[in-house]
Symmetry: C2
Subunit: 266 residues, 2 copies
């Protein structure tokens, strides 16, 4: 009898934001999370409790019998722990969840391996709706790539198979769209705070800015003084930033970049 | 008998994105839009038709009898046309809708004046829900400030009275939160396009990035390699951008700014 995909038993190595969100989503879809590892016993336990799994803080005590091992650690911890974690489980399928690491980081360690990268920003406080999250999959064999795709499809309608090379650029694009965007919010918040204005008043603008690119390319949606490099407005803004040389420099650099891209629009 | 606020008759000077959205919203709330001016007759007519108003492309033919004149022009056009438009209507209440212009730009021209600034990004294709848009109001008399507040409150629950000085920083913050954020999307889109990846796959991340700061300050929500200035990841990203010196420079500048702000977090 063919096993159903949800019958897949899974060990999680890591109990951070991504691991927590992913393990809970898989658990809710009926997958069996058998064990959670974290070097912080409390973190392993907290996640394990939520997904009815065992937990351990001892990497040499990883469960033997799982079909899939999902590693969600920070890049440097992953690279450091990699040889030790795979030992004794070389025949199982191992995946990491990192946008930035190539698939072949597994080579010479695991026999069956791949990548299972959900492109989203995770926090433990907010539960992410995986139905909307794109998954980028890679496997060292056709069969395992298909298995990973099938698992991802249980969570999300958006599953893509990409190369490690493409994934590097995905991760870099995510840094712009998430980390850098959030920093623009942070600088705006700082300006408002300094002048006794509520950050909340910016939220409708932030939301509309995001909504707009659902229907319009970001290049077409671009507005503001930098598009035509309106020197009058830009100089006034630079004067307002005179007491923040870092922000002033950034304002100039981003404005010049906007202007340059706008010139090449048609 | 006291007039109801919706009885206010309004002339619109300008028929661009902001004027179109604002005039339609006021019209829908029962305000009487009596006339729309634009130097482009087609634009004046297109908006006038939607709000059952007259239209003109002749500034000297502005309607005499309106209680309120709302000017929504580009800053330079406004400053240029200001003396001519007010002539003969000095006793009416005049407002501009610009984040960047001080209230006293009216001084010496109109007798009663103010600012009516809805902080949002507008396009003719997308109708904005004004219920969520913050309005920033200023008036040269207490009475007219109150009248403007009352009109804004008919559209939105978020109405603030601010000084021209504060409004300058609001506008600057909006440049960061809207124009600069959108540019981060544009750079991400360019990277994906170059590597055969769909921009659509970034939308869930973009949406979640915006949603996150509804519950968390942007500083607390900040993640990514720049927070701790993870030189290993940052250097790899800079290498990926080797063929785009402008983007490379921007990546570095934004990362350094993120790192610097993160150091001062606690």
């Amino acid at each position: 009898m063919k096993r159903s995909i949800e019958d897949t038993s899974i060990v999680f190595v890591g109990a951070g934001n991504l691991a927590t969100n992913l393990a809970k989503a898989l658990y809710r879809k009926g997958f069996r999370i058998v064990q959670v590892y974290s070097r912080t016993p409390q973190a392993a336990q907290a996640l394990a409790r939520q997904v009815e799994a065992d937990h351990t803080a001892d990497l040499s005590a990883l469960a033997d019998d799982a079909r899939l091992y999902v590693v969600a650690l920070k890049d440097d911890a992953f690279v450091q722990l990699l040889p030790e974690m795979v030992q004794g489980h070389e025949a199982s399928l191992w995946v990491h969840t990192a946008g930035s690491l190539p698939m072949d980081v597994w080579q010479g360690h695991a026999g069956r391996y791949g990548v299972f990268y959900p492109m989203q920003t995770f926090s433990k406080q907010r539960e992410v709706d995986f139905g909307e999250v794109p998954f980028f999959i890679e496997g060292n064999t056709r069969q395992d790539a298909d298995l990973l795709k099938e698992i991802a499809l249980a969570l999300s309608g958006k599953v893509y198979e990409v190369t490690s090379e493409q994934r590097k650029y995905l991760h870099l694009a995510a840094v712009f769209a998430n980390n850098f965007t959030n920093h623009m919010y942070a600088l705006a918040a700082e300006l408002l705070q300094k002048h006794g204005l509520p950050f909340d008043s910016l939220l409708p603008l932030i939301d509309e800015t995001a909504r707009k690119v659902h229907g319009l390319s970001p290049l077409a949606a671009q507005t503001g003084p930098a598009v035509r490099y309106d020197r009058y407005v830009i100089d006034k803004h630079l004067q307002l930033l005179a007491d923040s040389p870092g922000m002033q420099m950034l304002y100039k650099a981003v404005s010049e970049s906007i202007h340059e891209k706008s010139l090449h629009k048609e």
